[in-house]
């Protein structure tokens, strides 16, 4: 790396990048604290970093944040499981027959285009306010995203492979287990990440409009009484949840499956 041939140790390099990475957030926080000295901003529009920290502490210690996180998390899991459980068998069934897949695909594309928060108003009519519409909208989002990926996954299996397996006498369960499932799995797993990203957005959006609890509801409810500190705490918690989900669940999962099979270069 360096011109004089003395490579800095790994640790030092890491420390340097962490240090560099911290400069910008520090500047942002400093600018944030400095704004009220230069421009007149009503306090409710720009709470100080300290206030947000305090609010985080209050919400954590009285258990509110933990509770909302639990409520939102369980809805997310239920919606995700429901949507995936319905989409997998249906998607495979559709995709196994090329004619059925041709018939159903345009409708799927259309439903995928409207999946998500646009269903919230109808879901409120059907289930009333509360967790009913939230779970429905998550499941709906995940369902159409996943089913589309399953169909595409099966279709991405090269015809040569299909013919090869067939001509070797593969039929029924064997054909399904040895070719269709592994062949489609990559697209399904990659698609699951997209589905989860959409599902999380559905969760937050639906809770804001139709919820009576949960993280999304907490932020929109706080914004109506100008509790900006709570709004910002909620935003940060949602971001951390998504970050952890992505880093702790998906990247290892992709590494174990997609990358291991050498089907997609890991980035």
């Amino acid at each position: 790396m360096t011109a004089n041939g003395i490579a800095p140790s790994r640790l030092a390099r890491q420390a340097a990048s962490i240090g560099l990475a911290l400069i910008v957030p520090a500047l942002v926080v400093a600018a944030w604290a400095a704004v009220p000295f230069f421009v007149k901003v009503p306090a409710y529009k720009l709470p100080t970093v300290m206030e947000i920290g305090e609010q985080f502490w209050v919400l954590t210690s009285n258990g509110k944040l933990g509770w909302e996180l639990l409520v939102s998390g369980s809805r997310f899991i239920v919606g995700l499981l429901l949507g995936t459980a319905l989409a997998l068998p249906l998607g495979l069934a559709i995709a196994l027959n090329r004619h059925v897949s041709d018939v159903v695909r345009p409708a799927l594309v259309f439903f995928q285009a409207i999946a998500g928060i646009a269903w919230v108003p109808m879901a409120i009519i059907w289930f009333g306010f509360g967790q009913g519409p939230v779970i429905f909208v998550i499941a709906n989002t995940v369902f159409f995203s996943t089913i589309y990926n399953v169909v595409r996954g099966v279709e991405s299996i090269p015809a040569v492979l299909r013919n090869a397996v067939r001509s070797m006498g593969g039929t029924g369960i064997g054909y399904f287990r040895e070719l269709i499932l592994p062949g489609a799995l990559v697209q399904i797993i990659v698609g699951l990440r997209t589905s989860m990203a959409f599902g999380l957005r559905a969760l937050v959006g639906a809770e804001m409009i139709a919820g009576t609890s949960g993280l999304g509801f907490m932020t929109i409810d706080a914004s109506q009484s100008y509790g900006t500190d709570t709004v910002i705490v909620g935003m940060l918690v949602i971001a951390v949840v998504w970050y952890v989900l992505d880093r702790a669940v998906f990247i290892p999962l992709e590494r174990k499956t997609v990358v291991r099979w050498g089907l997609q270069r890991f980035q």
């Binding site: 529009k45 041709d102 285009a113 997209t194 999380l200 100008y226």
Partner: protein, 260 residues
């Protein structure tokens, strides 16, 4: 159009027709109030009525204008930021983690804050769309720039290329495939953000139609709004985004990975 493409289209149309037919028939079978389960016929009547009154066209125009404006501004800011950051290694190392973090902030979570800052109305919607567009464009452009082999840049330099020439001849073309990919993702997110922004803070537009009509139990209009939303998105995607992507691929001979 080839014969097989024609049959494929016919099959797809038959699928949609079957759904419409089943939907209409099921309305006769299930015994629920019409606002609970509006029939396709009722949705069609709502479509005719709202078109004749001129409400629907003006809502669509409003939504499209907001969308277009937001996507253009967001893409411009995203690309400019990417080039600015990429022009300095130090800036890249300093800003990289911050951008990674902001990428993970769920866009919808910003909306309550935008409402506090900008009030209900056009500014909030526009800011939400712009915000949603910036990150995927910036994030993908940067990772495109990161994926350029350093030897290419060194080669261009040693052949006497100026900073500007290196940027134009090596960095920009290297960045483009990923940037285009990011743009497509952004365009999809932006459409959802637009609808959501209109659900929460607007007096017109498709999102407003979807939300407002349910409070008067005019759910035929709600479903009409949802169908308009789907058709609008497919129209944008097929007529503008896909050809744009294809054009860039043809021009630079690049392969862009497709996702959703």
């Amino acid at each position: 159009m080839s014969w097989s493409a024609q049959t494929k289209m016919l099959k797809g149309a038959s699928g949609i027709a079957a759904i419409l037919l089943l939907w209409q028939l099921s309305v006769y079978v299930v015994d629920v109030p019409p606002h609970f389960y509006p029939s396709p016929a009722a949705v069609w009547r709502a479509f005719i009525e709202m078109t004749e009154k001129g409400i629907l066209p003006s809502y669509i125009a409003d939504s499209m204008l907001r969308y277009l404006l937001g996507v253009l501004i967001g893409t411009a800011i995203g690309c400019a930021l990417a080039l600015l950051i990429a022009s300095s290694k130090l800036a890249m190392r300093m800003l990289g983690p911050m951008i990674d973090f902001l990428y993970y902030m769920v866009e919808l979570a910003w909306i309550p804050l935008f409402v506090i800052w900008f009030g209900f109305g056009l500014p909030t919607i526009l800011v939400a769309v712009v915000y949603v567009v910036i990150w995927p464009v910036l994030f993908n452009s940067l990772s495109g720039i990161r994926s350029i082999q350093p030897s290419l840049i060194l080669a261009a330099r040693s052949l006497g290329g100026s900073r500007w020439q290196v940027l134009r001849e090596v960095v920009l073309p290297g960045m483009l495939p990923q940037a285009v990919n990011g743009f497509r993702v952004a365009a999809g997110f932006a459409f959802r953000a637009l609808i959501f922004g209109e659900l929460i803070g607007a007096q017109s537009g498709i999102g407003y139609l979807i939300f407002e009509s349910t409070t008067h139990l005019q759910t035929d209009r709600t479903v009409l709004g949802m169908i308009c939303m789907g058709l609008l998105w497919l129209f944008i995607d097929r007529n503008y985004l896909r050809p744009f992507e294809k054009a860039t691929i043809d021009r630079w001979g690049m392969v862009v990975s497709h996702d959703s």
